[in-house]
Assembly symmetry: C2
Homo-oligomer: 334 residues x 2
DNA sequence: CTGAAAGCGCTTACAG
DNA sequence: CTGAAAGCGCTTACAG
């Protein structure tokens, strides 16, 4: 009913705790006989080293903190899977928090993770976050922070992102090449870097092809399915409907898709639709949606790998930004 | 570059660490003036209590361990979301591991979480797990374990499950009532309790309605999309094809759906299809799939709530099993 | 090859 | 109202 400790083993074997500790960690000084005795008793008593005590003593933690807007969101849960894989291989455990896309909870989560003395922090910020002081506090305390997907432009930390601008540009260029002229954009919060970049990609593609569209074709909303529905509804109510819609991400595209389906608007006949992320369900709907692939699992892996580098570095490793390639997946909605 | 400690504050304020500790925790003994001074300095120096040290001292942890087969799987990520919500409200952080559906990794994860001295463990077992000794070790050490969805029948722990038998029965009865007679089942591993129960529900419904089907209509596989594809392929190759298929879960149903779509088999015209879980994407495909709703988010919440009860109990709380209701969601695939 | 001692950052009886 | 002391379970110089 209680955990066996090093002291328990030491007492039973008439050894000092120091010796037991060393035997357990296979220290070269300790004799084979002693090691064997210790190991045998440890196994027999189900000894589990107390990582809490170990962490306190060594001031090193084997936990990595992760903050995402929402765990149940295919993109983020896939990223977390990737993070967990790398963490597991390196002997770390992940502590996962969700901000529910609010700044307040993100701050609370950050503090909680700091109090838990995580070795490092992996985060994708909430869509409300404009002040990054809560991360700076951790960094000042020597806890490395790595941002992924939703990053802070002016925070000097390592980041893993995709070429959002290029991905958006390619998607919109594809729409233009396939004959679309009135291309609307269901955008996200302008506070989000990814949101701005994708919007810029849309604008640049239009401009480069000599197209101009009415202001109302830029509809700002959130990043969820509901926002896609609402945004699409607004677009459909316009005097001159767009003939194509580029969406900030796949949940929004799915929302737009559902709205179109309900209204009986033909895809791609009347309106072409493009998403962003390549969530599995975009390949499930009919017509299958054209989207921009974002390697979610790999984003998680790379972010974790980057964080691991910061751990090993003797002194502070210079922040670096990894930009993963997107890829336009052309399917049936365009 | 270092965390402020209670000792730092004590030194600067010419107080003893004990007093600072008490002031921080708002102990009634401490004078208002002292409290204010301590709190002010704590805020100014970004003091974050070291939960590691606190845990070691109090032998209480504020972490909850979670093990699921796979984080990126809508059902599990939704459950985790529910767990996180309850944990957050109660001041706990969750440590999430994935077993990748292997017994070996589940054991390693369990040990790692035990070493981290989590306050309790929430787990959905791997499909290989038949030996539950690794959980017993934790329980013997006073760490409560709560199982959800994929549970161990004969382990005396609290559990959160759904009425799998009833859900399966209702689904198959619905198929029969709507005129189907050759109803196959894409089953999961017989090692899994949920898998057995759903299979039994299928059998019971057939029997109660005086139907018998050829042995080949029971196809055993895994729980993933790929398994659904493969299983469906086998069913289609049969001399007498089934006119309906009840799937162990939605990923398998989606796999079966994709196989049918590729082969040009009409749903529900030639083959009716029913899934289990009510994953969001079942409502996205065309035709939309009939499925059995499993309240994933609520399963997570209930499991976490149950675990919380075990924490508060003075002595060991008796294990209890919460059975949540499923609901047949009839859509267009039947 | 082994042990005594100190300490990681905290809490909490026990004194005063 | 405040402090000295002990201790949670470990590790690691320092001795021997």
């Amino acid at each position: 009913m209680r955990h066996t400790t090093i002291n328990d083993i030491a007492r039973q074997l008439q050894l000092s705790p120091s010796t037991v500790s060393r035997a357990l960690r296979d220290h070269p000084d300790i004799s084979r006989v002693t090691k064997e005795k210790v190991l045998a008793l440890a196994a027999a008593t189900n000894y589990q080293p107390n990582l809490i005590a170990q962490s306190l003593q060594t001031r090193r933690s084997n936990n990595i903190g992760v903050i995402v807007p929402e765990i149940r969101n295919t993109f983020f849960s896939t990223v977390i899977s990737g993070i967990e894989e790398v963490a597991y291989e390196a002997g770390y455990t992940i502590m996962v928090c969700q901000s529910n896309d609010t700044y307040e909870r993100e701050v609370v989560n950050t503090r909680a993770l700091a109090a838990n003395r995580v070795a490092g922090l992996l985060v994708s910020t909430s869509q409300e976050t404009v002040d990054f002081a809560h991360f700076r506090v951790l960094m000042d305390q020597g806890i490395p922070v790595v941002l992924f997907d939703r990053v802070a432009e002016d925070l000097a930390v390592s980041k893993v992102i995709v070429d959002d601008f290029d991905g958006a540009y390619a998607a919109v260029a594809h729409l233009i090449v396939t004959g679309r002229r009135r291309i609307a954009h269901l955008a996200g919060s302008p506070l989000l870097y990814v949101s701005r970049k994708r919007c810029e990609g849309w604008q640049a593609a239009l401009r480069d092809h000599g197209l101009s569209v009415p202001e109302e074709y830029l509809v700002r909303g959130g990043c969820h399915e509901e926002d896609g529905r609402r945004g699409m509804q607004r677009l459909l109510a316009l005097p001159e409907r767009p003939d194509a819609v580029f969406c900030i991400n796949d949940p929004v595209a799915i929302g737009a898709f559902l709205c179109l389906r309900e209204q009986g608007v033909a895809i791609p006949g009347e309106v072409a639709l493009v998403g962003f992320s390549n969530n599995p369900n975009t390949a499930l709907v009919t017509p299958r949606l054209t989207t921009v692939n974002q390697p979610a699992f790999d984003i998680g892996r790379q972010a974790a790998l980057l964080l691991l580098q910061h751990f090993s570095g003797e002194q502070a490793v210079a922040p670096q930004t990894i930009v993963l390639k997107t890829e336009l997946i052309i399917r049936e909605s365009t």
